[in-house]
């Protein structure tokens, strides 16, 4: 596939001009670290690849292929996290037959690190989701669903911190408003809380209290609602918060050929990404860290 790489945002070409300022610190051999973030969203129980006769997605997708790809990327960089932005369930008979057991077991075999919860993950009711939790060897994060009065209480954390090669990565989750989208009899006493306010809290906690180097939001809010500008979406979230580095989205099945770069509330760049649905694509974002303060002061360069 053809993809034209270009330097989207270099803060006045920091990587080029910055050469002159190549660190005068007394003791600092250039020390580089790389964190690789891999992500999926809205896989919707698509375990097998689409067949050769499929009208739209012929020969695409498939969990065994994704496993192979993830494994080779992990070999190349062990400091990799694999994440999912929700709607794991519903879409093929595998879900109807096994209720999500297979989806969670496979994600565990692929060594997913964390996922958030999408509206379709309530399709067998909150009890149906709870029943599959023992098969998931990864974390569920959701900061704006309050499960206190449900069976899911204690099984979902607002955020989770991962440490890879000394880099602290804080990951929190956000879910879409359930009322009107999911029957109340399915989500029961799950309380939805305004995601933007929660995200502001979360990013403060992760940045200031937990001192994370990287903050990622796993969102099932949807990419953007042009006709409903007040509705919480990933772009709105990016603009109205600070300290989030990457928003991994879902719900709207938006096929972004490359991550969108948005300015946050203090004018810093935030990446928003989403890879459509059905496991047709794997998203990959690499974060490079080094000890060159001068370079960092000019802002990270973003290549998409």
């Amino acid at each position: 596939m053809k993809r034209r790489d270009f330097i989207q945002q270099t803060a006045a070409g920091a990587t080029l001009i910055g050469l002159g300022g190549l660190s005068l610190q007394s003791f600092s051999p250039i020390n580089q670290k790389q964190i690789t973030i891999l992500h999926t969203n809205d896989v919707h129980s698509h375990i097998d690849p689409f067949g050769p006769d499929d009208g739209r997605n012929a020969n695409k997708g498939g969990v065994a292929r994704r496993a192979n790809l993830v494994e080779s990327i992990r070999k190349e960089n062990p400091n990799t996290l694999l994440l999912d932005a929700g709607d794991i369930f519903q879409g093929t008979p595998y879900f109807n037959y096994y209720g999500g057991e297979l989806e969670f077991k496979l994600m565990s075999m692929l060594k997913y690190d964390a996922a958030t919860i999408g509206n379709h993950d309530f399709d067998n009711g909150i009890d149906g989701l709870y029943a599959q939790i023992p098969h998931a060897k990864f974390e569920f994060v959701s900061a704006n669903y309050d499960f206190k009065n449900t069976v899911m209480d204690t099984h979902v954390k607002p955020y989770k911190i991962f440490n890879r090669d000394g880099i602290k990565i804080g990951i929190f989750g956000l879910g879409i408003e359930l009322d009107g989208l999911v029957l109340k009899q399915l989500y029961k006493e799950t309380q939805y809380i305004d995601p933007i306010e929660i995200a502001q809290d979360m990013s403060r906690i992760l940045k200031e209290e937990e001192q994370c180097d990287l903050i990622i939001c796993l969102s099932h809010l949807g990419y953007n609602y042009r006709n409903e500008p007040e509705k919480a979406s990933d772009l709105k979230l990016a603009r109205e918060t600070k300290d989030i580095d990457l928003i991994i989205g879902g719900h709207t099945h938006t096929f972004l050929p490359k991550p969108t770069i948005e300015k946050n509330v203090v004018g810093k760049n935030v990446l928003v990404n989403q890879v459509g649905c059905y496991g047709l694509y794997l998203g990959r974002v690499d974060f490079y860290f080094d000890n060159d303060k001068n370079k960092a002061a000019k802002g990270a360069s973003i290549i998409v």
Binding site: D48, P49, E71, M109, K258, N291
Partner: protein, 251 residues
């Protein structure tokens, strides 16, 4: 104080000040297409196979035999496949509704666009039901006053297409002016409550079936439309489906 301890302290301090702060300097983003150029990981294939075999065997075991191929475009205002779906939903929902309420279902209505596949001549399987009805919608009975059943009839006249119906018969002129509408063979009584079975998507305003907003009461049957079709296929040996005169234009 021990000199060695002081030395150690100095070394530790300097080490600490040398601990390198790491800064984010570069971000690279891309998406990778998953396609047949990537080989599937064998351990995953091996894990999925027995599940796939079970599902396929189950989905592909023959439940009934279709005498012909039926599509939703076979007729103008009613079709064999649509009539079958509406009849099956009314027939199989009724025992559940009756056991809960003591009442019977008068009408069923689905939407033409919701028939997602054809029934091909030959063996009919559970997979056929998944193809016709991939969605998870569940049967809902709405209690509608006759005056709103008349709105339902008007919806069908405005739509001019073969939305699946059962229990209701409509005759119209060439310009879609109503000639006659009957439920169970009787004219519609404005004040009478009719029990109309549909599914939750349509009940909740899908397909612009706004007359459902006027429901006096609703009963969620917890019976998926797809399972109704599978149960119907299981019950009968052959499908010999027919268009009829439940919704027709009079010349």
């Amino acid at each position: 104080m021990n000199i060695r301890l002081i030395l150690l302290a100095v070394v530790l301090l300097s080490l600490n000040s040398c601990k390198q702060e790491m800064y984010l300097t570069k971000i690279k983003g891309e998406r990778i297409e998953i396609n047949d150029s990537i080989e599937g990981l064998k351990s995953i294939e091996d894990f999925v196979k027995p599940f796939r075999d079970h599902v396929n065997k189950n989905l592909d075991s023959t439940l009934a035999y279709a005498m012909a191929t039926y599509t939703k475009n076979d007729g103008e205002l009613n079709t064999a496949i649509g009539n079958f779906m509406a009849d099956a939903v009314r027939e199989l929902s009724n025992p559940i509704f009756n056991s809960r309420t003591g009442k019977n279902i008068d009408i069923s209505i689905l939407n033409h666009g919701g028939i997602r596949s054809i029934i091909s001549q030959g063996n009919v399987t559970a997979r056929t039901a998944y193809q016709i009805m991939p969605f998870e919608n569940t049967a809902v009975v709405a209690e509608l006053k006759g005056v709103y059943v008349k709105e339902l009839v008007q919806y069908l006249l405005n739509g001019k297409r073969a939305h699946p119906i059962s229990g209701l018969s409509i005759k119209t002129d060439q310009d879609f002016n109503l000639i006659e509408a009957k439920v169970g063979g009787h004219p519609i009584d404005d004040e009478k409550i009719y029990n109309v079975v549909t599914h939750d998507y349509l009940f909740n305003g899908g397909g612009n079936m706004n007359f459902f907003k006027q429901s006096e009461n609703k009963h969620i049957l917890d019976y998926k439309i797809r399972n109704i079709l599978i149960d119907y296929f299981t019950k009968v040996d052959t499908l010999n489906l027919k268009a009829d005169n439940r919704f027709i234009k009079i010349k």
